[in-house]
């Protein structure tokens, strides 16, 4: 209860600082209201960004142009239905073994333009599966633009709580496809560290520049928040392997735009020493994640196509874990692939096919899988309908839905196709049908 009170104090203070600034009271609606633009300006089909959406974010969420005079808030609701091919005895507490309806997330957003050069994206989320409220993705930025000798340089700094949440392309982990997944379906055990392992457990600071609207460069670092701070923010730190010191993060990308085409190619990474399970006295593990990514967008009217690809290689030194009996090997590798293609009609209908896979060295103790292998691979198909991307109903023009049907087919799960858990469950038993009504207003 005390923790909840502290979270409430934190949220209310953020509201006071950001929402009630007397000099800016007229220029702080969230983004659609702030800019006067419909969803389709920033998103091909939310949450995937258009070139404009990317530049709005890099510009610190400061661009305005709308005539909204109200407070800067938005709400997100995600009622969902999940079916797996084979029931899951012993699934999430309080839910049936299959065919579950749940309000998966309810989020409150605030932020937007604070000054001409300072803006924010701040999200707090009620998790309907774990039944608790916590801070969620947060990105506060300072940005400026200068023209030097015929060149335009947009530069800035971000403070955020999730490696890659500050990124503007939909290839790397925080914003990659699938944009929404079931919280009640089994997911592969292994993932690289940069794939959301540290989301909301860390604070990060980085500086970035965007030269001539094409070349992007970012460098910064992340450090783990104390366990008591995390608890106060609604995060349960049990079992975490905190960063030891500061973990450097980097991102380099180029995005040429010509006509109706935008093509990005880049690299990103995170490296750190970590304290395995927070147990001190035996030294540290370390990891280096290096990713490459590319995204192509054809932005026609009404036809839009996006192709995305990200590949991450992780080298994981697990010598401290091995000493503690938490790993069999002193060194492991993981490789992660995420590739997808979307066709979007008039920002209203979206059809996506994706391939996800993770693979690497076997380590039964580290991954805890029956086979000892971290290997998983599957396909994801999704059809979504977004009826109000060009503007909502007259009583609330900023209302939008993403009503989706998603099917995930697993070829391999936790190292095997059949008998993945030693109890006769097959990878195909985790094939998931997922329906959602993602609501924003």
């Amino acid at each position: 209860m005390r923790s909840r009170r502290l979270t409430t104090i934190l949220v209310l203070t953020a509201i006071l600082v950001i929402g009630l600034d007397p000099r800016r009271a007229n220029t702080l609606p969230l983004y659609a209201r702030q800019t006067g633009q419909p969803c389709a300006t920033c998103h091909t089909a939310f949450l995937e960004l258009t070139p404009f959406g990317r530049r709005f974010k890099l510009g610190g969420y400061t661009l305005d142009g709308g005539d909204w005079k109200g407070p800067p808030f938005a709400v997100m609701l995600q009622p969902t239905f999940t079916n797996t091919q084979t029931a899951q005895p012993g699934g999430a507490a309080g839910f049936g073994v299959n065919n579950n309806f749940v309000l998966q997330q309810a989020s409150l957003f605030t932020g937007g333009k604070i000054t001409d050069n300072l803006g924010a994206f701040i999200q707090g989320t009620y998790d309907g599966v774990d039944h608790r409220f916590a801070w969620d993705n947060t990105d506060i930025r300072l940005a400026k633009q200068v023209n030097v000798d015929g060149h335009t340089l947009l530069w800035g700094a971000t403070v955020n709580n999730n490696p890659t949440v500050q990124d503007v392309w939909n290839t790397i982990p925080a914003w990659s496809f699938p944009f929404i997944s079931s919280r009640l379906a089994p997911m592969p055990t292994a993932s690289t560290f940069i794939e959301q392992v540290y989301a909301q457990q860390v604070a990060g600071f980085s500086g970035y520049s965007f030269l001539d609207d094409t070349f992007y460069l970012e460098f910064g670092g992340y450090w783990s928040l104390g366990t008591n701070t995390q608890r106060a923010l609604g995060i349960i730190p049990t079992g975490e392997s905190p960063i030891d010191g500061i973990a450097p993060y980097w991102r380099v990308a180029a995005e040429p735009i010509w006509g109706k085409n935008a093509w990005e190619i880049g690299t990103f990474g995170l490296a750190s020493k970590v304290v395995p399970m927070g147990i001190v006295g035996t030294g540290t593990d370390s990891f280096t994640d290096i990713g490459i990514d590319t995204q192509y967008q054809y932005l026609g009217d009404p036809h839009t196509v996006t192709a995305r690809l990200a590949w991450i290689h992780e080298n994981h030194n697990t010598s401290a874990s091995q000493t503690l009996g938490l790993a069999d090997n002193s060194n492991n590798q993981l490789r992660s692939l995420n590739a997808s293609v979307s066709y979007i009609y008039d920002s209203t209908w979206s059809l996506t096919a994706g391939r996800v896979s993770v693979g690497g060295t076997a380590d039964a103790t580290l991954y805890g899988t029956f086979t000892g292998s971290p290997n998983s691979a599957g396909y994801i198909f999704e059809l979504a309908y977004l009826p109000f991307s060009h503007g909502g109903p007259s009583f609330w023009p900023w209302l939008n839905f993403r009503i989706g049907l998603q099917y995930t087919h697993w070829n391999k799960f936790d190292g095997a196709t059949t008998n993945i858990d030693g109890m006769g469950r097959n990878a195909s038993g985790n094939n998931t049908f997922f329906a959602y009504i993602w609501t924003m207003f």
Partner: protein, 102 residues
């Protein structure tokens, strides 16, 4: 289940919270140097210097006469067009009224 924070954690959090509020207050009281408002490049919104059907910049709510835009960088032709076009209903009504008087 949510675990309770210790008194030390609360003090630490409140200290950081007040520090953040103080820093924010300070940042608000120090005016930024005369940096221009950040605008979006013409390239990223597919700006063209001719209309798209009956959609023209001088009918858009973001247009700033004689040749500017609230959102897009650089010189903007009243006859231009870009992806950000949002009809300025007042301007459209004025145009319609003028047309009907001719």
């Amino acid at each position: 289940m949510i675990q309770s924070a210790s008194p030390l954690a609360r003090r630490l959090l409140l200290r950081r919270l007040f520090g953040a509020v103080g820093a924010s207050t300070l940042s608000y009281s120090v005016p930024f140097s005369a940096a221009a408002v950040i605008k979006i490049s013409q390239k990223s919104v597919a700006y063209q210097d001719h209309p798209e059907g009956d959609k023209r910049c001088d009918k858009c709510m973001q247009f700033q006469p004689p040749n500017g835009c609230k959102m897009v960088d650089g010189s903007i032709s009243p006859n231009g067009y870009c992806r950000l076009f949002v009809l300025n209903k007042q301007a459209a009504m004025r145009t319609k009224a003028l047309a009907s008087t001719v």
